[in-house]
């Protein structure tokens, strides 16, 4: 019963934050236009919201995302970027920059523990990162170029983000995780690189050994995922984990841990593009990282009690809503609807 109440509280909190941010923009043709009008009317003073309230709103918003993210198995960035794009007045450039730093901080904090437990392994991570780092840098370059080179670029990016979210929604809807996939034989490349390892599985009370296979196919998939992650400032756990688990045969815990390690390296490389373009604002990043870090600690404790099916449905619902809102916002910006 107590658990049910905490879910109700969580749901209501998210609902209130979304309503509040939506209320701030209510009745306006678009967020950007509203902000422009406010600037024109008040000089450089901006809208009628006190400046100090923005960091507080961001902290509350990311705190709730931080609670939800560990429960659902997605990174915080994949929730932060679409919801912020839909509900907050920031340029999509700053949202992607903040999303990337949030995903990077979460991944860097988790990776050392995963490595010490044997769940993540630099031998598996290195070839995949060699490919996906290049494409994530390219994605970051292309994303910033589109929004700055074309007058309507940000609307195309917003629509593309909505479409990517729809893709993530269908990946989550259709993918089935395999806890301990059986790899009978490794491909030649995986064997040559000795892509195997072991970890202690407490639920079984013994050390389990694993090996991964189909490295060439995995490399192609990681190239595509890296580009999307860099372009939209998303962590790529939603795609990395199914590729590692279902295609390459890594046990689900190993897939999650290896994905985190890969995200930490890809996002660190992509972050330089955003830093060099001035797309990382401490005003947005600091309260967001603080909020998601504190929220994630609570979320990790709740995850022990949570019902995975309910959490998955909750996150998929948010994804679908954010996808629809982003596509509508982009189409409105282009005056198509």
């Amino acid at each position: 019963m107590r658990f049910g109440r905490s879910w109700l509280f969580l749901f209501l909190s998210l609902f209130l934050v979304l309503c509040f941010t939506n209320h701030l923009m209510a009745g306006e043709p678009s967020v950007a236009e509203a902000a422009k009008e406010a600037v024109a009317a008040t000089g450089a003073k901006g809208s009628n919201i006190p400046w100090w309230l923005w960091p507080v709103i961001l902290f509350g918003f990311t705190f709730i995302i931080g609670i939800i993210a560990p429960l659902s198995g997605v990174g915080g960035g994949v929730l932060f970027v679409p919801l912020s794009t839909a509900f907050f007045p920031f340029s999509v450039d700053f949202i992607r920059g903040a999303g990337l730093i949030m995903a990077l901080t979460s991944a860097l904090s988790a990776t050392p523990q995963f490595i010490r437990k044997g769940l993540a392994n630099i031998r598996i991570m290195t070839p995949l990162v060699c490919v996906s780092m290049v494409t994530s840098i390219l994605g970051g370059i292309v994303g910033l170029w589109i929004t700055n080179a074309f007058p309507a670029g940000k609307y195309y990016i917003t629509i593309a983000l909505g479409l990517v979210l729809l893709l993530i929604f269908f990946v989550m809807l259709t993918s089935k995780r395999v806890e301990f996939p059986e790899v009978k034989e490794q491909d030649a490349l995986s064997r040559a690189l000795a892509l195997s390892g072991s970890w202690y599985e407490p639920t079984l009370g013994k050390i389990l050994e694993y090996k991964v296979t189909r490295l060439p196919i995995g490399l192609i998939c990681f190239a595509a995922v890296g580009f999307i992650a860099g372009m939209f400032g998303l962590g790529a756990g939603w795609a990395n984990v199914p590729v590692l688990n279902l295609i390459m045969g890594a046990p689900i815990k190993v897939a999650v841990a290896t994905s985190m390690t890969i995200i930490s390296i890809n996002d660190a490389a992509a972050a330089w593009i955003y830093l060099a373009k001035g797309a990382v604002l401490p005003l947005i990043v600091v309260p967001s990282v603080l909020g998601i870090s504190i929220g994630a600690r609570i979320g990790a404790k709740l995850a022990v009690k949570a019902k995975p099916a309910f959490v998955k449905i909750l996150v998929m619902g948010i994804m679908l809503l954010a996808a629809a809102l982003n596509i509508i916002k982009g189409l409105k910006g282009l005056h198509i609807i």
Partner: protein, 144 residues
């Protein structure tokens, strides 16, 4: 019993994790401490009210309106390290350097056991350095 369940982790992995962890903790501390000082109103490069008034603009136009500058590279915050927001940016740079620190620290250990990995590490480091220096050596490529 505890020894029986002890997993053997490659020493290169452990060195990689340790180096990454240290740089991450320092980076988070620098980013948060100076970021909070910035939010509490200590000297700043970007005025918060001006930032809020213009943060709906694409990044290039934002910097033109807020600071009258065109940003391409890192000198805008590296030359203003007396400002709290620029010091907070330094913390974010440290976070972005953490995996590179891990790779460089693990390199000697990897070289001793996995010769193929040395080549892959070399490719990784080159890619990483390209990501860092690309905005300086090729400022127009991919930018506006």
């Amino acid at each position: 019993m505890a020894e029986k369940n002890q997993v053997h982790v490659d020493p290169a992995n452990l060195v990689f994790a340790k180096a990454m962890e240290i740089v991450t903790y320092v980076g988070i501390a620098v980013m948060i401490v100076f970021g909070l000082l910035y939010l509490f109103g200590l000297s700043s490069f970007v005025d918060m009210k001006a930032a809020i008034a213009h943060w709906h603009l694409p990044v290039g136009k934002f910097w033109h309106e807020v600071a009258g500058i065109h940003i391409s590279g890192y000198d805008w915050f590296l030359k203003n390290l007396t400002k709290m927001d620029c010091l907070s940016m330094l913390g974010i740079c440290l976070l972005a350097l953490a995996p590179l620190a891990g790779i460089l620290a693990a390199w000697p250990k990897v070289g001793a056991t996995h010769k193929v990995l040395v080549l892959l590490f070399l490719i990784l480091v080159v890619e990483y350095l390209f990501a860092i220096f690309k905005p300086i050596i090729l400022p127009g490529v991919g930018g506006h």
